[in-house]
């Protein structure tokens, strides 16, 4: 996890299968505050439904989910913390 400028965090979860990218997201969410943007990189295709479920449960926003072939890039906005 790294800070890339104010309020934007890059979470590189590529290759993580166990416990998986959702672990890294949960950690970033814990450390976030309202208005922050989290950019998550993952290779596990299961991350998409997980992100949707996460966003609807936590009432945060998915700005985009982009399948770039070698990785999936999701941009999430924390609006509920």
């Amino acid at each position: 996890m790294q800070q890339t400028g104010s309020g934007r965090t890059l979470v590189d979860s590529r290759g993580s299968s166990c416990p998986g990218p959702i672990t890294d997201l949960a950690l970033a969410y814990r450390r976030s505050k309202r208005g922050d943007v989290i950019e998550l990189w993952a290779t596990d295709p299961g991350v998409k439904p997980d992100l949707q479920a996460w966003a609807s449960k936590t009432r945060n926003e998915i700005v985009s989910i982009d399948d770039q072939g070698d990785k999936i890039v999701a941009v999430l906005k924390i609006v509920n913390r």
Partner: protein
């Protein structure tokens, strides 16, 4: 002249590495804050089964005679200067440094947890805490038991699910299961984060009558009201809380300071295991920020990768995990995956339980390296296949 290898931390990873290095080529020093080496998996037996196995051995008997064991705690590591400072005032220099300082529980991260943890114990800290939890479970006479991890990083990811299933088994044996509501909370979308294993454990939890609260990321605990509140805004009442505390890396001042993250985990290349920006330092085991399970098996395999690299061979860590998951009633399964292979579905059975028990019996030998050939065969036979395909 022999090259100086300094290993900080004499736990599972540090010990295996020390014993894997060629004694003719390296001068090996292990700097160990504690000489009481503990088989941590045994905390489950103490806390949830009331057993009293012998879980501690003297580190001096586990490392080979070629290893210089220094009983002291690292307080500062200057990667630029190549020096490790200790609490006892020593300054140790090295040619190669390996950080193997593990991680420890830190209840102070959650408001209310320090008090709850001191009163009820837990099964991830030490034997005293495990005994405390057992005392509460053994005398529990009905009500709500709430069990879960209070932060996304957990030592041995299967251990929360194992905990609730073993408590279910215990209460059935005590005849108190019918009077007990068992609630399993988790920050993840489902009981086990990796789907292959979740497919196996979710039906078992349901069949045993365990209520699951997904997306329950602990925010605070109110010891007076006996409630746990999540960041997502849900509230849970308990009679007996079994809360796995958050974990942190060792309290060491690093230079440069940006080689550790907010949780004090060392930022490590996921294949070479080198510490960010360093040619001479590696990190293995729970101390690193690798995107893989915090487990002894990872520490073991990573120690072998570093040993090979130092011996001048080409070696990379493939993210291999291999954690046993005891589902109670004498059955177990294994969580096996790697950077390339997602965790496979594997049904629990008796054979895997026996294997898990055997691996526990051989734990001390595995640290000494005496049964390495057996492990090599085991890891080969169980190698996860099915390369992950992008879609």
């Amino acid at each position: 002249m022999a090259e100086q290898v300094l290993i900080v931390g004499g736990g599972d990873g540090g010990t295996i590495l020390a014993n894997s290095l060629d004694r003719r080529r390296f001068d090996v020093t292990v700097l160990a804050a504690s000489l009481a080496h503990t088989f941590q998996r045994g905390f489950l037996d103490v806390a949830l089964r009331g057993r009293r196995p012998r879980l501690v051995r003297d580190e001096g008997r586990l490392v080979g005679s070629h290893v210089r064991l220094v009983h002291d705690r690292a307080t500062a590591i200057d990667l630029n200067a190549g020096v490790v400072a200790t609490a006892g005032g020593a300054r140790l220099e090295y040619d190669h440094l390996v950080i193997a300082t593990g991680m420890t529980t830190d209840p102070s991260q959650i408001p209310g947890l320090t008090e709850v943890n001191a009163r009820f114990g837990d099964y991830h800290t030490d034997i005293a805490q495990a005994k405390k939890l057992w005392a509460h479970l053994d005398t529990f006479n009905g009500g709500t038991i709430a069990l879960g991890q209070s932060s996304p990083i957990c030592k041995c990811p299967p251990s929360p699910v194992e905990g609730i299933l073993l408590i279910d088994e215990l209460l059935r044996a005590h005849g108190t299961r019918e009077r007990t509501r068992l609630v399993f909370f988790t920050p993840y979308p489902r009981p086990y984060p990796a789907e292959g294993i979740n497919d196996v454990v979710a039906p078992i939890l349901e069949q045993r009558g365990v209520e699951v609260l997904p997306f329950f990321d602990v925010d605070k605990i109110d010891p007076e009201a006996s409630t746990i509140t999540s960041i997502e805004g849900d509230e849970l009442h308990y009679d007996l809380p079994v809360v796995i505390p958050p974990f942190v890396g060792a309290d060491i001042a690093y230079e440069p300071g940006d080689v550790v993250d907010e949780g004090r985990f060392v930022i490590t290349d996921k294949e070479s295991l080198r510490v960010k920006g360093s040619d001479t330092a590696f990190a293995i085991g729970d101390a690193s920020n690798l995107p893989t399970s915090k487990a002894g098996v990872g520490a073991h395999l990573q120690a072998k990768v570093v040993a090979k690299t130092l011996a001048g061979k080409r070696a990379t860590f493939d993210g291999r995990t291999n954690c046993s998951l005891d589902v109670g009633h004498g059955r177990a399964t294994y969580v096996i995956g790697s950077y390339q292979a997602p965790v496979a579905r594997a049904a629990p059975n008796r054979l895997k339980y026996v294997m898990e028990w055997l691996l526990g019996r051989f734990f001390w030998m595995s640290l000494k390296g005496t049964i390495d050939p057996v492990f090599d065969i085991y890891f080969k036979v169980t190698e996860p296949k099915a390369p992950k395909r992008q879609q």
